[in-house]
C-alpha cells in the first residue's frame, strides 16, 4: 500500500521543526514527505539572522545559521525541492503546482510559508540603497552594502529593527532608528518601559527618533539617500525597512481557504485550515485571528500537526509570546502581555531610575494569575515569573513580591524546588524541567550538552539563562532535590 503523501510548502524554521519532530516521532515510516522551499538553501535560523553580519560563514565551513542540510533531509527520507515556488494549490486534484510547472500530489498539505517583511509604500521606498530584512539574501545584500556605508537609517523601532540596528552599529556605522509611533517596541512594551529602553540605548552614533513618520526617500546629489521625516531631512547611505511582517497567505487565499481578516490562514486548535486535509503552521497561520510572528507558537503548531499525523492528537491552545533579549546590552524581557484592561487586573510597577530599571507585572484580579510582565534593564526574577505565567499559578499576596529582590521578600527558594517536572524550560522545543533533570541525572549538567540532547535553548534562545540557573540549582541541591511549590504560588 502506498504511504500517504505529506507535502510541506515552505522550508523555514517551523517547517524544519515539523520535519524534525515528525522524523523523531517515526513519521517517515508512515508518510512520504516532500518539502518545497523557494529560498535557495534549506532551513536556517532566521531569528539570529543579524548575527550573520559579524559571524559570517567563510567559504569552507558550513553556514553557522543553517538548521539543516539537504543531506540530513535525504537521510531522513524527506524529498527537498529548494529554490522553487509553489504557485497554487489545486484542492480538486489534491496537488500543489510549482512555478517550474511540476505538480505534486498530497494527502496532507502543510502550509509553512511564513511571513514577509512589509515595506511601506512611501515614495522612494524602492530606490537603490533601500532594503528589507527577512531572509538570508536580504542579510547578504545588506552586509555587502554596509561595508561601504557610514550611516544607516533603520525604519521601524520594533524588536527586529532595534536588534538589527544594534548589530549594524557594532560594525561601526552610525545609526538612526525612525519609529513612526510615539514609543519603541509597542507590541511588547508599555510607554514607560519603551521610554526607558530608548534612553538606555541611545548614545552618540546611535540615534532613536520616535513619532518620526517617513514621508519620502530621495536620492542625494553625489550619492546616498535623503530620508524626509516631517520638516527634517536625514542624509544617509542606506535605508533598511523593519516595519513589521505580513503573513504569506496568498496560496491559501487562492485556494479559497478561510483567511483571518487581519491576514493569515485561519486555523483551529489542531492547526487545521478550513480544508481538513490542509494544515497551516508558523507565521502564515492565524489562530483566533492572531498571527504570532514568533517561533515558539509556530513550533507548537508544528508539534500539533505531528501529533495529528501520528494519531495522538494534542491541541494548540495559543502561543507563548514571552521574549527575553539584550538590546545593545540592555536587558529587555517580556512575559505574556501587559496590555490588559485595567478593570480586570492589578498592575504593579517597579522603577529604579538610578539604575535604569523598569519592571511591570499584571495579574488577573479574580484568578490572581500572572497575565504579563515586562522587565527592562535587569531581569532578576524573570524565570520565576515566566514559570508562574506558564503554569497559570495563583499568586498569594502582592504581585510586588514578583518584582522585588530577596532583600524585601526574604531568600528565594531554589529553582529546582519551584519548578514541577512538567514545567516548560524551553518553550520553542517544549523541553520540560523533568527532561533536564533526567539529563542532569545522566551526567549532562552544562547547557551545551543539554542543548545537544534536547534542543533546549536552541530556538529563540530566551531560555538559555533559565536552563543555566536550573542546572546550577540542581547542582547545589542535588538532582534528586524535591519539588516544592513556590512561596508565592498557591
Amino acid at each position: 500500500m502506498r504511504s500517504p503523501r505529506v507535502v510541506v510548502v515552505g522550508n523555514g524554521m517551523v517547517s524544519h521543526h515539523f520535519l524534525e519532530r515528525l522524523y523523531q516521532a517515526g513519521g517517515m515510516a508512515h508518510y512520504q514527505v516532500t518539502v518545497i522551499g523557494d529560498e535557495p538553501h534549506p532551513a536556517y535560523d532566521r531569528i539570529h539572522l543579524s548575527s550573520g553580519f559579524t559571524n559570517r560563514a567563510d567559504e569552507q565551513s558550513s553556514n553557522p545559521l543553517a538548521l539543516t542540510t539537504a543531506r540530513t533531509y535525504a537521510d531522513w527520507g524527506v524529498a527537498l525541492c529548494c529554490g522553487v515556488r509553489v504557485r497554487e494549490i489545486d484542492r480538486q486534484q489534491r496537488c500543489v503546482r510549482l512555478a517550474d510547472g511540476r505538480a505534486i500530489e498530497y494527502d496532507h498539505l502543510i502550509l509553512a510559508t511564513g511571513a514577509r517583511a512589509i515595506v511601506p509604500q512611501v515614495p522612494g521606498h524602492d530606490l537603490p540603497g533601500c532594503y528589507a530584512f527577512r531572509t538570508m539574501a536580504d542579510m547578504e545584500a545588506i552586509r555587502q552594502a554596509v561595508a561601504h556605508a557610514n550611516h544607516v537609517v533603520v525604519i521601524g523601532g520594533g524588536l527586529l529593527g532595534l536588534e538589527l540596528a544594534g548589530a549594524l552599529h557594532e560594525l561601526g556605522v552610525s545609526i538612526c532608528v525612525l519609529q513612526r509611533g510615539p514609543s519603541l517596541m509597542p507590541a511588547q512594551l508599555d510607554p514607560q518601559a519603551a521610554a526607558l529602553v530608548k534612553s538606555s540605548i541611545e548614545v552618540p552614533g546611535f540615534e532613536v527618533r520616535t513619532s518620526a513618520a517617513t514621508s519620502s526617500i530621495t536620492l542625494r546629489d553625489g550619492g546616498g539617500l535623503i530620508v524626509h521625516v516631517g520638516d527634517c531631512d536625514i542624509a544617509t547611505d542606506m535605508v533598511i525597512f523593519s516595519t513589521g511582517v505580513q503573513p504569506c497567505d496568498e496560496l491559501g487565499r487562492g485556494a479559497g481557504l478561510k483567511v483571518s481578516p487581519r491576514g493569515g490562514i485561519a486555523i483551529d486548535e489542531h492547526s487545521r485550515t478550513s480544508d481538513p486535509d490542509i494544515f497551516a503552521v508558523g507565521d502564515c497561520a492565524a489562530f483566533n485571528d492572531v498571527s504570532y510572528g514568533l517561533v515558539a507558537p509556530g513550533y507548537a503548531m508544528a508539534r500539533t500537526v505531528v501529533s495529528q499525523l501520528m494519531g495522538q492528537p494534542t491541541a494548540f491552545i495559543g502561543g507563548d509570546t514571552s521574549t527575553r533579549l539584550k538590546l545593545r546590552g540592555i536587558e529587555v524581557a517580556t512575559v505574556g502581555s501587559i496590555k490588559q484592561p485595567a478593570t480586570d487586573c492589578d498592575a504593579i510597577t517597579l522603577t529604579d531610575a538610578a539604575n535604569g530599571v523598569y519592571k511591570r507585572v499584571v495579574v488577573d484580579r479574580a484568578s490572581r494569575a500572572v497575565l504579563g510582565a515586562v522587565m527592562v534593564g535587569e531581569s532578576e526574577g524573570y524565570d520565576e515569573l515566566l514559570q508562574l505565567y506558564r503554569d497559570g499559578a495563583r499568586i498569594d499576596g502582592s504581585p510586588a513580591r514578583l518584582l522585588l529582590s530577596d532583600q524585601y521578600c526574604g531568600p528565594s527558594v531554589p529553582l529546582c524546588q519551584t519548578m514541577s517536572s512538567d514545567a516548560l524550560i524551553c518553550s520553542c522545543h517544549a523541553v520540560t524541567a523533568g527532561q533536564v533533570r533526567n539529563c542532569a541525572a545522566a551526567g549532562l549538567n552544562d547547557v551545551a550538552s543539554v542543548a545537544t540532547a534536547t534542543s533546549a535553548s536552541t530556538g529563540c534562545g530566551s531560555c538559555k539563562r533559565l536552563l543555566e540557573r536550573y542546572l546550577s540549582s540542581l547542582g547545589e541541591q542535588g538532582a534528586d532535590a524535591g519539588y516544592h511549590p513556590r512561596r508565592v504560588a498557591g
Binding site: A342, D346, A347, I348, T349, L350, T351, D352, A353, A354, N355, V357, G397, S398, A400, R401, L403, L404, Q407, Y408, C409, G410
Partner: protein, 936 residues
Amino acid sequence: MDTNASVVDLAGVPLAPPRAVATTCPYCGVGCGVDMTLRDGRLLDVQGSTEHPANRGRLCVKGTWLHESTALRGRLTQPLIRGKPADWDSALDLIANYWRKVIDESGPDAVAIYGSGQLLSEDYYVANKLMKGFIGSGNMDTNSRLCMASAVVAYQRAFGADAVPCCYEDLEVTDLLILAGWNPAWTHPVLYQRIAAAKAARPELKIVVIDPRRTASVDIADLHLQLRPGTDAALFNGLLNAVVDAGALSHRFIDAHTNGLDACKTACAPWSLEHTADFCELPQSDLQTLYNWFINAPSTVTCWSQGLNQSTSGVNKGEAIINLHLATGRIGSPGSGPFSITGQPNAMGGREVGGLATQLAAHMQIDNPEHQALAGRFWNSETVARRAGYKAVDLFEAMLNGHVRAVWIAGTNPVASMPDSARVRQALRQCELVVVADCIADTDTARLADVVLPALTWGEKDGTATNSERCISRQRGRLQSAGDARPDWWMFAELGKRLGFGDAFAFNSPAQIFREHAALSGFENDGKRAFDIVGLANITDDDYESLQPVQWPVTASAAQGTARLFADGRFFTGDGRARFAIVQPEPPREARCNTWPLLLNTGRLRDQWHTMARTGSAPRLLAHIDRPWLYACAEDIECLGLVEGEVATVSSPRGSCLLQVRGDDGLRTGELFAPMHWNGQYASSANVGRLIAPRVDALSGQPELKQTAVMAKPFAVTTWARLVTADDIDPGSPDYWVRIPHQYGLIHDLAVSGPFDWQGWLTTRFGQPVQVVQSGSPGEDSHWVALAQGRVLGVLHVAAAFARLPAIESLMAAWQEAPVMAVIEAMLADDWARESGSADMVCACFRVNAEAIKAAIADGCDCVQAVGDRLKCGTRCGSCKPEINGLLRQSRLCNTPEGSPLAVGSVKKSPAAPDGAADCAGGPAGPVVGEAAYSL
C-alpha cells in the same frame, strides 16, 4: 509614667532619681504653673502645678504635652552669618559694628528691635534698656502690638495706666460673665475650664458670648450674640444707653471717681435697642436679654481679647467696655471689672518693662520729659529716647523706605504673623542687616536673615513671665541647652557692651536683671505708677530662685501682691479719677464689595501656638486639627461652588492662599474663618497674613487681623497625593501641600492642578537613589512605595479627590507594620478606608477621634462623663470637653423630631433666649445653650 527611683537604663546602670521642678507654661496668657519631671537633664513628663494660682493643677493639651514639643529636632544650635556657621564673637561683632555705623550715619532711629511676648521679662528689660535707655531710640516694639495694644491704650486712656484691674477668681465669683471676642475654650483652655467648673457649681452664673462665630466656648453660654463682625462698640454703647434708661447708673461711684460721663452718655444716646439691634444684626429680644441681665446683675466681668483688639477701632471697643464698668461702678471688687485677656505668656511682662514702641519703661511714658529724666537718672544715661518709635506695621514700612536700616528680631516670626506678609518679606529683603534670634532653625523670617542667633527656649532658660492677671511667675531652666544657644538677655547685653555701654550691661544672671527691673518700677514712684514691684527689688538670688507666683503691685504695703486694682477707686490719672471715653462705633475699615464679597475672620485653634514654630513639630498637637482649613457655612460652600475637603483659593487685593474647605455651621453667611498658625514650613500657602491689609487702629497701631474682605473660589485640583516618610523631606513644587508630623512618621498632603510627574517627584525626595514600586493604573488611585537598602523610605497615594485618599489612621497603622514586605503589600493594596475629612482627634491626649465619639454617643453614652468613661476622652486635660459636648448636642438635634440637623446651620441669628439658662438646656435649635452636661 513610673518615676520610681529604682529605674535602670538599658545597660543596667541605675539612673538618677527623677526631679520635679516648678516652672510656667510658655504658651498662652493663662500662665499655668507646670511641674517638670526631669532625669539627667531630660524632661520625662509634665504635670500641672497644684500650687500655682492660675491653674491649680490643670493643664490644657498644649501644656500637658509640653515635653513632646521640646525635642531638639529643628533647633538652631549655633550662630549663622549668611547661612554659614560662625562663633558668637564674630556674629555679635558684626552686628555691633554695623549698628554703630548705621547709628553714626543715620541716627539712632535707623536701628530697631522687634521682640515678642515669648521673651521673658528679663530679656525684654535688657532689650528695652538698650534701645530706649542707651541707643536712644523708641524703636523697640513687639508682636504684642498684634495682640493687645488696643487694650493697653484703652486702659491707659481710662485709668492713666496700663493696669488690668481683675484677677482670674473674678471669673468664678461674678454673677454675669461676658466673653467678647474671646474663645477661651480654644485660646485659654484652663481659664475656660475654671469658668466651666464655676458654671457647674453655680448654674445661676450667667455667661454671654459675643462673637460672630459660634465657637466652642458657646458650649457653656446662656446666650450667644452672633453679631455682625466689628460692631461690638455699638453693642456696648447700646447697653450703656439701656443702663442709663433703666436708671442703673452708679452715681455714687461716678461722682466720686470718674470724669466725663455726660459726653459719653450723649455719644451712647442714639444707640436705642432698635438701632443697635439693626446695626449689630441681632434680634432685639437677645439684646434685651443681655440688657436685663446686665442691669440686674450685682457684679459683672467683661472679658475681651483679640476679637475686639485686632481692629481699626480696637481702642474704642475696649473703652466702650470700660465705660460700662465705670458707669456701674463694677470695678475693683470681687467679680467685677473690664478684663483684657492677653494671648501670649509674657505679653504682660513686655508691657511692664515698656517693650512697646509707645512706652518708655516700667509704666513711664516715652513722651513725658519728667519720665525721660527719671529713667536717665536711674540708668545713668544721657541718651534716653524722647519720642515713640515705630509701631510694628510702621516699623516694617520704615525698613521698606530705608528709614530703618538694621533690625533685630527676637522670638517672633513676623513674616508669618504680620498683615500683608508679602510686604513684610520685601521689607526684610530691603533692610541692610536683619538679625533673627530664635530657638528654631527654619522659620519664614529666619530665611530672610543675615545673621541668625540660637536662643534658649522653654525649659532651658531662666526668668519671669507675667500672665493675664498680673501674676509674675518663674520660668525655670533645667534642660540641657541646645548646642551653643544662649539666653536673649545675654545677647542684648553683649550688643550693649559692644556698642560701648559696658557698665550698664554687665549682667550676669536673670536675678540681677530682675532686681534692677524691680528697682526701676519703684524708683521715685510713690504710688504714681501702677506697675510697682519694688518689694522684690532686693531679693537674693536664692529668693529669686524660689520666687512664688505673685500679682503686682508688690510693695511695702502689699508685700504678698495685689489681687485686684482700684479697690479704693483711685486711678493713675492726674486727678486720680477714671475717664469716660466718647465712643463712636466704627465698622471695619475694609468693606466688602462685589469683587471681595466675603469677610475673612482669623484666629487660633485649640492645640496650636502662634506660627507653629514649636507646636507644629509635636504630632499630638496636630492630631486635633491637622491642617489649615478654610471654614465656611454650608450655604456659602454651595454658593461659591466649593467642595468640602477640596482646595479653595482665597484671595484679597494683596494676595492669595490655598486652603482646604470645611463646613462650619457656626459661621454667619458670607463670613469665613481660617486659622492664623500655618507658616511656610507647614503649608505651601496658608499664611493668612498675606491677605490682610496693614490697616491699623490709629491710636494703638494694632492691625485689623479679624476682618478682611476676600473672595473664595474652587482651586481646580487634578490630583491629590498623601505621602508618608520616615525622615524629613522637602515637598518641592506641588501647588498645594501641608506638612503633618505624625507620631509614626511625617505626612504630607499634596495637590496639583494640571499634569504632574508624581513618580519623578517621589524619586527625587530622598537625597539618594530609590526603587519605586507602584500599583494602580492610569486614571485610578495609585499607591507607591519608595525603597532603598531594604528599607521603606516613603509611601505615596495618589487619587483624583481628597476623599479618595487613604484615611490617615489606617494608613499610619499600615505604615507601622513589620516586616518591610508587609508594609509594601499593605501600601500597594487598594482596600483602604478612605479619607472622611472628619477624623479629627477631638481628644489629643488619648487619641480619640470624632468618629469614635459619635459611635459611643449612638451607643447610648448621653453625657460627656459617660463618653469619657467609655473612651477616656476628656479625662486628662479636659480641653476637648466642649467639643464632646458639641457632638452630643448635634446628635440630640438630629434625634429630635422638630430639630433637623439643618436647623443648626440655618440659624445665623440667635432666637430669643428664654430667661433662666437652665430652662433652655438642650433646646432644639439655636446657639442658646446652658447645659453643663459635665462636671469638672
